[in-house]
């Protein structure tokens, strides 16, 4: 009896939503279990880092890696799992483009730490901060070092496939599981390396059922400040919806529920920098010609960097803001 191919799923700096999304494939998870040997999945079973290190290189057929690379332990695990896996998938928005934790790249990493350790409820009169290596009376103990910026998976290792979404939609995950099982049984071929899988080839607007007209934006509104028309395009109502630049595959869930698309499915096909394209889209449909009028309309976008780079900062062309890397002048 041939052994089942090995499967692993690992989380770096993540929230666990990707794991839940996999579980929300419901009965499909039993197919995964029937066709694979789960060898490493910290949320679910007790294999340790040592066990991964002991595995033969390339012995894990498929590893789903979610979470951003925030500290040196994340980076070590990314490299280790790359070594041990045949197919490494950057799974979810954190691994593919940085996602929400990537917003930390707007700040000096030291501020990330100092803010957490100086909140109004924090009792820290001696100004203690975490130390990566600390001598306790019994011995030395360690915690990982935060990297200067959060990185995407493909910024540290070679990645075979990318699966976007925060989290990837469960029906998309189920389809990918099915495909991989077919491949294992020799009934299907894997797509070319580097392909974005589990997502569509268009934008969220294409999946959205709201009525769309030619856009003439005369103002941007805050979503809580209007009585929304549930049948009309949100952007046309002045709500800054990221649909135009965001990859399809989610069935436009959020606009269907009355909330603006915030861009969790990442850039559409062929887009190098998500934020840049969305900037272009929004600017193109503003209905003004005079600089003063344009500025007045743009004032309605109260947080441009968040609007355009909410999920994609770490994976963008600039990757991080100046405070994250610039040494102060002596």
């Amino acid at each position: 009896m041939t052994a089942k191919p090995k499967f692993a799923m690992y989380w770096a700096a993540s929230c666990g939503g990707c794991e839940i999304a996999v579980l929300n494939t419901h009965e499909k998870i039993l197919d995964l279990d029937a066709n694979f040997d789960v060898v490493f999945w910290p949320v679910a079973m007790d294999a340790k880092y040592k066990d991964v290190e002991a595995m033969e290189d390339g012995s894990i057929l498929l590893t789903l890696f979610n979470g951003g690379i925030r500290n040196d332990e994340n980076e070590h695990m990314a490299k280790l799992l790359r070594q041990k896996s045949k197919i490494l998938v950057a799974f979810g928005s954190c691994a593919t483009e940085g996602c929400i934790p990537g917003l930390a790249n707007l700040s000096d990493v030291r501020e990330i730490i100092s803010t957490a350790f100086n909140t109004i409820t924090t009792d820290n009169p001696n100004g203690i901060y975490p130390m990566t290596s600390y001598d306790m009376p019994e011995g030395e103990i360690h915690i990982p070092t935060l990297l200067p910026v959060l990185k995407t998976l493909d910024q540290v290792v070679d990645v075979d496939y990318f699966m976007p979404g925060c989290p990837p939609e469960s029906q998309q995950i189920a389809a990918v599981i099915d495909l991989v099982i077919q491949v294992v049984h020799g009934k299907a071929e894997l797509p070319p390396k580097g392909t974005v899988i589990g997502a569509g080839n268009s934008t969220v607007c294409d999946e959205c059922k709201r009525t769309r007209n030619v856009k003439v934006i005369k103002s941007f509104e805050r979503i809580w400040n209007i009585a929304q028309d549930p049948a009309l395009c949100l952007l046309e109502q002045g709500i800054p919806c990221n649909g135009p630049a965001t990859r399809s595959g989610c069935n436009a869930r959020c606009p269907t529920a009355g909330a603006q698309c915030i861009g969790c499915y990442g850039p559409a096909e062929g887009v190098v920098d998500y934020g840049a394209r969305l900037i272009s889209a929004f600017a193109s449909v503003i209905d003004a010609k005079e600089p003063e009028e344009i500025d007045r309309i743009l004032d309605g976008l109260v947080d441009p960097i968040g609007q355009f780079y909410r999920f994609s900062l770490a994976g963008s062309l600039l990757k991080a803001a100046v405070p994250a890397w610039k040494k102060e002048k002596a």
């Binding site: 990707c18 949320v43 924090t122 600390y134």
Partner: protein, 488 residues
């Protein structure tokens, strides 16, 4: 010569953690350290974001309980805008929340906590997981567990727009309501949920309480700590997950404090240690006395057990019956045995299901009045809910445009960081003593010490491989490996 055992990573919790165990020359435990090695920085990078995005951004703190962060953030954003959402919006939010609680507690009990109990802590490793549970209780039950999760997430999707990371809460209410059709579906699923919760309690009763060995384990001193207990209660001091006053009782069960969530900073402070990225909340008025039990130590626990201890009952009839049976079986209030958290979680499971149906049959639930436009200037606000793991507080300050200028979060599991550390310490000290060889059974029982708290991510797959490999490396002071214990 100090021996040093590292468990890394801890598995079956949300996020990352590791345990360091140091032995002294005699071979007894000198000390243990439960370290959290990660920090992402939400309190920093949410600054500059519009406050209406906080329910969406803070979702990503945790993908298992985004609903908790979403609701705490929604309530905080309402408070920032000094707006009271319409009654229907509050009903819908609490309905979503009840269904979420049901799903979350189900996954923890059946896939995480349950195996230790249903199979037993000394059961062969190959059986001590959800598969073993299914074999013992039957495939039909396995299917029910999947259905329970499915139903809960379906309700979250109907009201919240998505299954993971809901998107419909905005300052002043929601972006959508529900139709009568949707309401009927939700009600039907809720009635099934009540049956499933009762089924789960019966299962616990038969398999766990019917077994003297397990009862001894639950009641034993091993996993017992006498601390303060925190939960949220309604105006009748009955437990409520979504709204109410925060109530703290002392180790004797007497009310120690009862405060509005917005006053949390007068009651809670967070202690810092330099060897971990997470802080240790404690009661300010008692003070930080170290990792010790007792009335003089400010350490308090959140968790389902704490909520039951801190309340005077459950607000729905079947859950109330179970609440009474719980305390009469365990010898009265408060209950200090940490393994009883698993049982308390099932009482809450039943309450969540009953509340689900209550809300789904409220005459206002399908009203189109689900949003009021805020008109006041935004300033500052606190939003608080009971996350399944404990009291969750979001506190935002904004400028006059509603852009966040400062954030403070005290998160559910964080409340339990000190109690968990103590539980691990006590379990390790009791298990690992001079002359004893460290076995894998001992290691599992150390794990059970933190697993009872359901550290945020209590979710496991519906099926696990037969093995639960665990490796313990015992090194001498020079770092040389003395022994490597493997449990495959």
């Amino acid at each position: 010569m100090t021996q040093h055992i590292t468990i890394d990573p801890i598995t079956r919790l949300e996020g990352h953690g590791k345990i360091e165990i140091f032995l002294n020359d005699e071979g007894d435990v000198a000390n243990t350290y439960f370290q959290i090695p990660e920090l992402r920085g939400f309190e920093r990078f949410c600054v500059g974001r519009p406050v209406e995005e906080m329910p969406l951004l803070t979702n990503r703190i945790c993908g298992v309980c985004p609903e908790a962060h979403h609701m705490a953030a929604a309530k905080a954003a309402d408070a920032v805008y000094h707006i009271d959402p319409p009654h229907t919006a509050k009903l819908l939010r609490e309905l979503l929340y009840s269904a979420f609680y049901f799903t979350d507690h189900t996954t923890h009990f059946y896939a995480l906590g349950g195996p230790d109990f249903v199979m037993g802590p000394d059961a062969p490793v190959a059986e001590r997981n959800i598969l073993g549970v299914i074999h013992k209780v039957g495939l039909e039950t396995g299917g029910k567990v999947i259905q329970a999760r499915k139903f809960g997430h379906n309700v979250v999707e109907i009201i919240g727009g998505r299954k993971v990371h809901p998107c419909t809460s905005i300052p002043g209410g929601l972006t959508k309501g529900i139709t009568e059709d949707e309401r009927k579906q939700i009600e039907e699923m809720g009635r099934w949920a009540i049956e499933f919760a009762q089924f789960s309690l019966k299962l616990f009763n038969d398999i766990v309480l019917g077994n003297k060995q397990y009862v001894d384990l639950i009641l034993g001193d091993f996993y017992t700590h006498h601390t303060y207990y925190m939960g949220t209660v309604d105006e009748n001091n009955k437990s409520n997950f979504y709204n109410g006053m925060v109530r703290v009782v002392d180790p004797d069960g007497k009310e120690f404090a009862k405060y509005a969530p917005k006053d949390y900073a007068e009651h809670i402070a967070e202690h810092v240690e330099p060897w971990t990225y997470l802080k240790f909340p404690y009661l300010k008025k008692v003070g930080w006395k170290g990792f010790v039990d007792g009335k003089d130590s400010g350490i308090y626990m959140a968790t389902p057990l704490s909520r039951l201890n801190a309340s005077e009952g459950m607000a729905t009839p079947r859950a109330q019956e179970e609440y009474e049976r719980f305390y009469s079986t365990l010898g009265g209030k408060p209950v200090h045995q940490r393994l009883a958290i698993h049982w308390a979680r099932l009482v809450e499971l039943l309450y969540a299901a009953e509340r689900w149906v209550e809300l789904a049959t409220d005459p206002e639930i399908t009203s189109p009045n689900f949003h009021t436009i805020p008109t006041e200037k935004p300033t500052e606000g606190v939003g608080c809910v009971e996350a399944p793991r404990g009291t969750l507080t979001h506190h935002y300050w904004t400028d006059e445009r509603g852009i966040v200028t400062k954030v403070n979060l005290v998160v559910g599991t964080t409340n339990n960081y000190a109690p968990m550390s103590m539980s691990i310490n006590k379990a390790a000290r009791s298990l690992i003593t001079k002359g004893k060889v460290v076995t894998e059974g001992m290691l599992n029982m150390v794990e059970m010490a933190f697993r009872a708290y359901d550290p945020c991510f209590g979710c496991a797959t519906h099926s696990l491989p037969g093995q639960m490999p665990l490796e313990v490396t015992i090194r001498d002071a020079k770092g040389e490996t003395i022994e490597v214990l493997k449990r495959d």
